[in-house]
Symmetry: C2
DNA sequence: GTTCAAATGCAACAATGTTGCAAAATAATA
DNA sequence: TATTATTTTGCAACATTGTTGCATTTGAAC
């Protein structure tokens, strides 16, 4: 088991349960984003559907993971950077979704470019959703 | 009725029906984005739910409207620019969702900034989803 | 107006997400 | 470690959202 799992749960004052450990491990192992369905399948119906929903919801609230915007209405989640998990502050993100294999990447190290909006708009968060072909599929 | 409605439908080789006229008019009147639920409510249950789904799907396929990516898993649609409706080419877009009133704006005239991705990623489309407070709510 | 093609409405279904509550697991305390 | 209190889970039931097939209706072409 990944050593950071228990740490992360404790730091966020969450009870250490099987489902939380397993789901958090999935995120740590595979760096790409996960959808609810992915988790349900990979866990082999070990956990109730409701438990997975609630676990994801809890992780989002605590800032452990975040949702990724997508145009096709498929909710995906990805790990937040470590600093993100301490506060509830949502960072700006660049995400990349591969049209070929469907993998969604959370590109933490890509800087979000500045967006100039019309007068009157106050921007608090900017998400960039790029799509195309990923490095594995090129 | 907005004069462009019949034109747009004819140009896209679509039969001119009540539902299409009304739904297209909704998009032309209010410049913000619309969700399926908005259309269902505003039309006063005049059309079947399925018809609305199919109409939206058709409009997307023809390039008359496009979906807006969002993190909260709510599918919203907005009119494409005129040039967009001729081909199926999807332009890069900047969208803005107001945290206060929930209105989603499609900012056609804001230029999408260049995003520098790691080697191996080939970008074909970039969507920018900004959020904060809109001009009406400030 | 008649004929043909397309779109609609209905019903039934599938997928996704939510809520309340009793049972079980975890954490806190002695 | 045993006991109590709190949290989490699983189940059931429900709500919402989206899809599909097919008969009926509507619009387009002639």
């Amino acid at each position: 088991m990944h050593p950071r799992i228990v740490d992360t749960l404790k730091r966020n004052q969450l009870s250490i349960t099987d489902s939380r450990k397993k789901i958090l491990e999935m995120f740590l192992q595979r760096k790409g984003a996960l959808a609810h369905a992915d988790i349900e399948q990979q866990s082999g119906e070990e956990f109730d559907r409701v438990t997975i929903y609630r676990t994801l919801q809890t992780f989002v609230e605590k800032g452990i993971i975040h949702t990724i915007p997508s145009a096709d209405n498929s909710v995906r989640y990805a790990l937040c950077k470590d600093d993100c998990s301490e506060g509830h502050h949502h960072d700006n993100h660049v995400h990349f979704m591969c049209d070929h294999c469907g993998t969604t990447y959370c590109l933490d190290h890509v800087t979000v470019p500045a967006v100039v909006l019309p007068t009157g708009f106050k921007v608090t968060q900017v998400d960039v959703v790029a799509s195309g072909t990923c490095m594995k599929c090129q």
